[in-house]
Each structure stands twice: as structure tokens, then as C-alpha cells.
């Protein structure tokens, strides 16, 4: 530890990372502390510097002119931005609106300063992940290796561990059997009486890794009387850029989607992964320029698939699935979008399914966007905690409405060689509509 632990003081005399934050947002926090127990990092570490109340105080200190020390920065970087604290906060503190711009400003200041070139961020995060086609091409050899059984062997032998850093953590995140599925069409017609016209948001990583889930979602929408449009020009929602500090990149992605979706043609833009949905619902908040009203209008049309079907009134599926399942609340659904009951209601319509409540369901699984790549240790601890809770329910099927959660939970289960099924609620609903089961026999 050096001196009093402050450095970079010079940097922030020029740019205060809290400068763009409305001070009244800090003042909304009355310091009651009721948020602390909702915070995954505080629950794990017990240090109030790693709690929402503590982090707000740290940021407020910086806003008041206190230099940002390395230690403060570490506490702020350890935040998952899961926003469980927003759900817990009685006073309505918009924590995301504090931590997100703050971290963005810190990242930007870094780039302006003695910017280190972060190849992972520049190449993998910004040039690869947001492009489903590139991802799929990259994953082609993986799929081949999996089919030949080499991939599992490599995993068993620990070969991935020799791949350094964040790239090495990515390999075991991939599902053990990447499934292939045909490309999505531009349009799918409603089955039966027509009840709605919707556009479907495809996304990037989700499309590369979870295309079968997309198909399942589309079939469920069709079964519920929806004409589904899949505009081919659409792209990534921009969340990866936004949460990694590339504000401009994020805006570029958002604006490309404004062009791709002809809003007036659809009743809703339906999205099946919570991370994308949460980002798009906030399009209207992040950038104050001429396009802001258009982005706000776009955001108002965005609906999570669970929310959409629940509002529409879902046609009950007929196929029995005799199994015990548990539902994990993805942070970006439960906390960012306040959707917790809808998926449970939908799943409860599956005949035969017993849905058991997951303890600490609202505590982050540690995936949190790219957090699992950047904050490996905390991410692993949270994954372990999540799986312990899952096991306590005795469920055989784990459901979550977000790609990151599915990957994270799957990886931890695989590491422990536990044969649980991890799937999206739409996967299970689709099976029920199709009168199939997740497993044979």
C-alpha cells in the first residue's frame, strides 16, 4: 500500500467522473442501509465499501471533490450492476444511474490518460461479440470439436486453463453441446386466431449460442397468435459497449436498431434475453441528442417475452412435463425491468410441472454481462452460491430468462458434474406446446 492509497489524483482534477451525475440522485439515498443485504458482493464480502450504500457514499465523496483512490475504484469495479439494490431501495434511488455514468467516465478518463490498449476489450468485446455471424464462424471449430468429443477431453484435461486470462475463462462458459439450428426467417405467421403483430429482437451472442431458444420463442409466439417479424438489418443492442465504457459504440448500435425496426408496424418489439431488453428499455435515457425522442419511443415498444405473453394472456400449453423446476431471477429482468411474477405465472401453466421457489433467487449468479470475465473470483463465488441454492430445491430443471445466467449456471453445474437441465422458460414452454419432454423416458 502506498501512502494513503490515492493515486491518479492528477487525472481527476481535470475530469471528475461524477461530474455528469445529477447531485440530487445522490441525495435521494437516506442511508437507511436496507439495500445492503440485497447486494451480492456485500453478502459475500461483508464490507460496506462493497455495498450499494457504501458505493453511493464513495461516489458522492468523489463528487464532493475527494480523489478516487485505487481502493475506492476497486470497490466500484466489483459492483455487478445487477441493480438488486434498486428493487430493495424504499426511497427509489436509481443506483444504475449513478454507477453506470460514473464507471463510464472512469473508463473514458483512462483512455484519455495513459491508455493501456486492452486487446480483449477492443477485439473480443467490441469486434466479435456484437456480431452474431462472426461469433458463429468462430464457434464452428468448437462445434466440430464437440461433435468429435475433443472439446470435452480438452476440458477434462484442463487444457483451457493454459489459455490466459479472460479468454481462458470463456471456453468453459460455452454450453457443452452447442446446438445448431437453421437461420431465422424474416417472418413467421400466427397459428390460429391472430392476436398481435410483433417484431423479434435477435441479438448477438444470444443468436450465436442460443439459436434453438430463439426458435422455441418464435414457435411459442406463433402458438399465441402472433405474426412475428424478424427484421434482418437489426444488430446488437449495444449493452456490451455501454457496460464496458464505450458510450459512442453503444449509441451507434442503438441507432442502427432505430433504423432496422419500423416501429409503427408492430405492437411490440419482443426480446427474450433480459440483458438486451433492459438495455433497449433505457435507450431513451442515455443520450440527450436530437434522436432522443425517437429512442424513447423505441424503448416504450420493447417488451420482454415473459412480460409480453403474460399481458397478452398466454394460451395454456397442453403437454405434460412431470418434473421439478426452479426459476432464477435474472438481474436484468427482476431488478432492471421489475419482472418477477410473469415468468412464474407462465411456467405454472405447464401441466405437471412443479415450480419450487429458489432461495436467494434475486441474488446475481455472477454472470452480469462480462463481469464473469473481468471479476473472475467474485463471479465464481456467486456461481457457487447460486448452485448451492439450486441444489437445495431438489429441482432437475433450472430456468432463467437471460443468456449470461444460462451460461454461468450451466458452467458451474458442469464443473460439478451435475446433470441438471438449464434452459430458458421459452424452451420449456415450447416443449410443452410440442408435447415433448426435456429428456427421454
Amino acid at each position: 500500500m502506498q501512502g494513503n492509497g490515492f493515486h491518479n489524483a492528477k487525472l481527476f482534477t481535470a475530469v471528475n467522473p461524477a461530474a455528469t451525475i445529477d447531485y440530487a440522485l445522490f441525495q435521494r439515498c437516506v442511508h437507511c442501509g436496507l439495500c445492503t443485504s440485497s447486494c451480492p458482493t456485500y453478502t459475500e464480502l461483508g464490507d460496506e465499501n462493497d455495498s450499494p450504500r457504501g458505493r453511493i457514499q464513495l461516489m458522492r465523496m468523489v463528487a464532493d471533490g475527494h480523489p478516487l483512490s485505487d481502493r475506492m475504484r476497486r470497490h466500484l469495479e466489483l459492483c455487478l450492476d445487477c441493480r438488486a439494490c434498486e428493487t430493495a431501495c424504499p426511497s427509489g434511488v436509481r443506483y444504475g444511474r449513478l454507477i453506470e455514468p460514473f464507471r463510464l467516465a472512469v473508463e473514458q478518463a483512462d483512455q484519455r490518460g495513459e491508455a493501456r490498449y486492452d486487446w480483449f476489450r477492443e477485439i473480443v468485446l467490441f469486434r466479435l461479440f456484437p456480431y452474431a455471424d462472426r461469433m458463429r464462424r468462430l464457434l464452428l471449430p468448437v462445434r466440430l470439436m464437440q461433435r468429435l468429443g475433443w472439446y470435452e477431453m480438452a476440458e477434462r484435461l484442463g487444457l483451457f486453463r493454459v489459455i490466459p486470462g479472460r479468454l481462458g475463462r470463456m471456453a468453459p462458459l460455452l454450453p457443452s453441446r452447442l446446438q445448431t439450428a437453421p437461420r431465422l426467417p424474416k417472418f413467421l405467421p400466427a397459428v390460429g386466431r391472430k392476436r398481435a403483430r410483433v417484431a423479434f429482437f435477435v441479438g448477438c451472442v444470444a443468436d450465436a449460442v442460443f439459436r434453438p431458444t430463439h426458435w422455441a420463442t418464435l414457435r411459442v409466439l406463433q402458438q399465441n397468435g402472433c405474426d412475428v417479424f424478424i427484421p434482418p438489418e437489426q444488430g446488437c443492442c449495444g449493452a456490451i459497449h455501454f457496460h464496458s465504457g464505450d458510450n459512442r459504440g453503444a449509441r451507434r448500435m442503438a441507432d442502427a436498431n432505430l433504423v432496422a425496426f419500423e416501429l409503427d408496424r408492430y405492437d411490440a418489439i419482443v426480446v427474450n434475453h433480459a440483458g438486451c431488453g433492459a438495455m433497449m428499455k433505457e435507450y431513451g435515457l442515455h443520450w440527450q441528442d436530437g434522436l432522443q425522442p425517437h429512442r424513447a419511443k423505441f424503448a416504450a415498444k420493447v417488451k420482454d417475452i415473459n412480460e409480453f405473453l403474460d399481458n397478452l394472456g398466454m394460451v395454456p400449453p397442453a403437454g405434460r412435463i412431470e418434473a421439478v423446476a426452479t426459476y432464477h431471477d435474472a438481474c436484468h429482468l427482476a431488478h432492471a425491468q421489475a419482472i418477477t411474477e410473469a415468468p412464474r405465472r407462465l411456467l405454472s401453466l405447464i401441466p405437471g410441472l412443479e415450480l419450487r421457489e429458489l432461495p436467494e433467487s434475486g441474488i446475481c449468479c455472477g454472470s452480469a454481462g462480462v463481469y464473469n470475465l473481468n471479476q473472475a473470483e467474485m463471479s465464481d463465488r456467486l456461481a457457487q452460491r447460486k448452485v448451492e441454492n439450486i441444489l437445495s430445491t431438489g429441482a432437475r430443471i433450472v430456468l432463467a430468462s437471460n443468456a449470461g445466467c444460462l451460461l454461468q449456471i450451466q458452467r458451474e453445474l458442469r464443473r460439478r458434474k451435475l446433470p441438471l437441465f438449464v434452459m430458458h422458460p421459452m424452451d420449456l414452454l415450447d416443449l410443452s406446446y410440442e408435447s415433448k419432454r426435456p429428456w427421454r423416458g
Partner: protein
């Protein structure tokens, strides 16, 4: 690095000691934000042994120790006065055992009240004290303040639900009292509960578990004004009925709660009561009927039953999070914790309104009405010094009024530093001297949470808090 920090690291492990000023600042206050003082160090021990080692270090170095759970005290009980070391028990957060046969659970002090509740879900048992801070506040903290909550009306406060404690005394020795009763000695468990960390550091608690009631009905009674509602409460108690809970919210707080949680309270209601009856299903209807009749007789416009479990939960959420939700109304607030004999409830509610008008401070009220426990919330803006002073003066006057009614200045939040100057109003010098003797018996060098609970001799009731 100071010798103190070096020794603390040796005692509790390097990873369990915070000493960077920027990290200490986060521990400079609790839920009471008008009194702040950063600690000299923060220790986050992982075991009772480490707690004992830390106490010994602090004794050697002559440094005060301030225990802290979740830091939700509303009375400044966790503020580290006198450059103290904060001993935060948040890492000791394991539920150690649940023993249903003996209706008992053993938890480390840092276990959150709600964490215990979750651990007990499905067992058919619960821990009765349910303070509104229960989502975060710890069993250790509940024990230190003798916490209450809405359901203490029928089931009693924390002291009625603690069967045993493991405690580190001021000399660093570790002792256990209970969980088996022992008539051969003084009731030190009862004494430690509510002692605000001034007699010892509680590290482990054996709590009593209560069987869940077979059924309960939750009602809301809507009144045109708060006077009618408080009168109805007094009448229900006077009629010899003790419901499981009887909570009051006035119009001011209802507006905030409605904004936050969208329950659907009528906007023109002057006050509502939340009433709960519980027990064997067989007796509930008649119990409820009597209460409904009394409410109607004393002015309730409407009495409705929460018909579904989610609705009941939302109703309780509204009540429990009401205080913290006032951040929506005002940048700062001061919440008081006055208590009066139950028949005086209408009188104190009336006086609170008058005091608010006179000091030009907006006051909204929630109350554990069945216990005569009022929580007036005084709203102000901390940047306006005059407003702060007016709020403090109004708060003090409310509490003096409670004393005048034969009540007390705190029912469940504790004295902390916030109300310490009022102890001299509440107690005679000999009464305070008796408490000082107890304190000296436990902690002769007065190192444990100094400046809290008991005023120093000669502190005038008009002084603001502790000597700085």
C-alpha cells in the same frame, strides 16, 4: 502503518482489517446521518476468537471499540465516537443450526433477520421480532437494541426471544449464557439484550422459534383522520383485545407509500390501521368481527381484508418500508421512537401535529399503535441549517411530550447518541447511577461503545448529544 493496525491485522488477519481513509469513511455513521465520525480502523472478524483478540488489542492500546451489524441504527448506535475501532460482525453471518424440537436456532451475530427468516421458511417456525429494518438488520444488532416490530404487540420484543448468547466481555474473555435456563445467577442475557454493545460484544445468539400461526387475517381500516384511528386503537386495547399487530399510518406517509409501492390506498384517507389477527383458524372470524365492529364504532369508514397472500405481503411491505421511503419526500429526515401508555395515543398524536405546526416542520407518522409506540418522521433539508435546528428542537419536544405522558423516548431503536441527552429527563440521577454501576461492572475502562446509552454525569438534557 500505525502499530494499532499492525496489531489488529495480527489479531484478525490482514484481509479483515480496513485502514485506508477512503474506506473508513463509509463507516462514519449509520442510519442516523447527522452525526458522523470516521473510525480509526474497521475490523471484519470471521470468528469469535478474532473478536476476542481484537478486544484485547484495543484494551492494550486504549482504543474504544464500537460493534456494528448492518449499520441500520436510527439512533447513531454505531457511530464510532472517540476515534474508535469499528468491529463489524457482517462476516460472521452463518445460521449455525436449526433445532425445531427445542424451538431454537443458533446464529452468528451477523446473520440478517430476514436471512434467518428465509432459512426457516418451510419449517413451520419463525423468529418473532420483525423490525422494519429486517431485510438488512442483523440478529446481533436486534439483540443489542432489543428490537421490536409490528408483531411485538402479541409476541413480545427481542428479549422475549433470546434464549442464549455467546459474548466477548471487555477483558477479551468469551462466555456463554444459556440456552438452558439457570436460576443460579443474575439474568445477564436479559441485561445484555438492549445494552447497545456497551457491556460486551454478542457474537452468537440462541433464538427462540415460534410456530407459525395456523392462519391469519390481515385487515386495513380506513379513517377520516388520525385522531379517530388512534382512538380506535386505544379502544381496542381497552376492550381487552390484543391482535397480532395494530399499525397506524397517517395521510402524509400514505402518500409516500402509495408512490413507492402502488397499493391502492384511498388518497383521501386521513389514516389507516393495519390490523392482524392470527391463531387457530377456528377462532379467527369472531376475533376479526370484534375488531371490525370496534373500528366501525370508533369511526372507521371502511374495513377491508387482504384477500390474497401477495396483497397481504404488499400491505406489510408498505408498512415496513414506509420510513425509508420518505427519501422520496425529503432529502433528510429524523425519525423518533416515542412510546406512551396506550390510552394516551390520541393525545400524543395530537401534540405531535401541534409541535410540527409550531416549528414549521412537516411531520408524518407511522406507529406500532397497539404498543403506544409512535414514529413521527420529521422532514427537513440538511443543507438548511435553520431547518435542521428546527427539526431537532421539534424532535426533542415530541420526546419530552412522551415523557410527560408517562412514556419513554425509545421503544425499540435504542438511545444511541441521538437521545442520550434525554436520559436525564427520563430517569432520576440515582437511576442513571445504577446503570453506570452495571456498565462499570462489565467494562471498568469504558472501552465498549463509549458515549452511547448512558449520558456522562452532568450532561444537560438541552445538550445536543455526546461531548465532541
Amino acid at each position: 502503518m500505525s502499530p494499532l493496525v499492525t496489531e489488529l491485522r495480527a489479531a484478525a488477519g490482514r484481509e479483515n482489517v480496513l485502514s485506508a481513509p477512503s474506506e473508513l469513511a463509509v463507516y462514519d455513521c449509520d442510519g442516523l446521518t447527522i452525526e458522523r465520525q470516521p473510525p480509526r480502523a474497521v475490523v471484519l472478524p470471521g470468528s469469535t476468537r478474532q473478536v476476542a483478540a481484537v478486544i484485547r488489542v484495543c484494551q492494550r492500546q486504549g482504543v474504544p471499540v464500537v460493534p456494528r451489524g448492518a449499520g441500520t441504527s436510527l439512533a447513531g448506535g454505531c457511530v464510532p465516537l472517540g476515534e474508535a475501532v469499528v468491529l463489524a460482525l457482517s462476516r460472521m453471518n452463518k445460521v449455525l443450526s436449526i433445532d425445531l424440537r427445542n424451538r431454537m436456532a443458533v446464529v452468528e451475530a451477523g446473520v440478517a433477520n430476514l436471512q434467518l427468516a428465509r432459512a426457516l421458511s418451510g419449517t413451520g417456525f419463525h423468529f418473532a421480532p420483525d423490525p422494519s429494518s429486517q431485510a438488512a438488520s442483523t440478529i446481533g444488532g436486534n439483540t443489542a437494541t432489543n428490537a421490536g416490530g409490528p408483531h411485538t404487540l402479541k409476541y413480545g420484543v427481542t428479549v422475549n426471544h433470546v434464549l442464549g448468547v455467546e459474548v466477548v466481555l471487555s477483558n477479551g474473555s468469551i462466555v456463554q449464557f444459556g440456552p438452558v435456563g439457570d436460576p443460579a445467577g443474575l439474568d445477564l442475557i436479559g441485561l445484555l439484550v438492549g445494552s447497545e454493545g456497551t457491556l460486551g460484544i454478542v457474537t452468537k445468539v440462541w433464538v427462540r422459534l415460534m410456530p407459525n400461526p395456523q392462519d391469519f387475517h390481515t385487515l386495513r381500516a380506513i379513517f377520516a383522520d388520525v385522531a379517530d384511528a388512534s382512538n380506535a386503537v386505544s379502544q381496542i386495547i381497552a376492550a381487552g383485545i390484543i391482535p397480532a399487530a395494530m399499525e397506524l399510518m397517517d395521510q402524509g406517509i400514505l402518500a409516500v407509500v402509495e408512490e413507492a409501492f402502488h397499493f391502492g390506498f384511498p388518497t383521501d384517507a386521513g389514516a389507516i390501521l393495519i390490523l392482524e389477527v392470527d391463531g387457530p383458524r377456528a377462532g379467527l372470524d369472531r376475533q376479526q368481527q370484534r375488531i371490525v365492529e370496534l373500528c366501525r364504532q370508533f369511526g372507521a369508514r371502511e374495513v377491508l381484508q387482504a384477500s390474497t397472500a401477495p396483497q397481504r405481503e404488499l400491505l406489510w411491505k408498505c408498512r415496513k418500508l414506509a420510513v425509508a421511503a420518505t427519501g422520496r419526500l425529503s432529502p433528510s429526515y429524523l425519525i423518533e421512537d416515542g412510546v406512551v401508555p396506550r390510552s394516551r395515543l390520541p393525545q400524543i398524536i395530537d401534540r405531535i401535529a401541534e409541535i410540527g405546526r409550531r416549528h414549521q416542520i412537516r411531520i408524518v407518522n407511522v406507529a406500532h399503535a397497539g404498543d403506544g409506540n409512535v414514529h413521527p418522521i420529521l422532514l427537513f433539508d440538511e443543507r438548511d441549517r435553520q431547518q435542521v435546528d428546527r427539526a431537532l428542537a421539534a424532535g426533542r419536544e415530541v420526546l419530552e411530550e412522551c415523557i410527560a405522558c408517562g412514556g419513554s423516548v425509545t421503544a425499540e431503536h435504542g438511545i444511541g447518541i441521538e437521545k442520550i441527552a434525554l436520559m436525564g429527563r427520563l430517569f432520576a440521577p440515582a437511576d442513571l447511577e445504577a446503570m453506570r454501576r452495571v456498565r462499570q461492572a462489565f467494562d471498568p475502562s469504558l472501552r465498549l461503545n463509549p458515549g452511547k446509552l448512558i449520558p456522562p454525569r452532568g450532561l444537560s438534557p438541552l445538550d445536543r448529544g455526546h461531548p465532541q
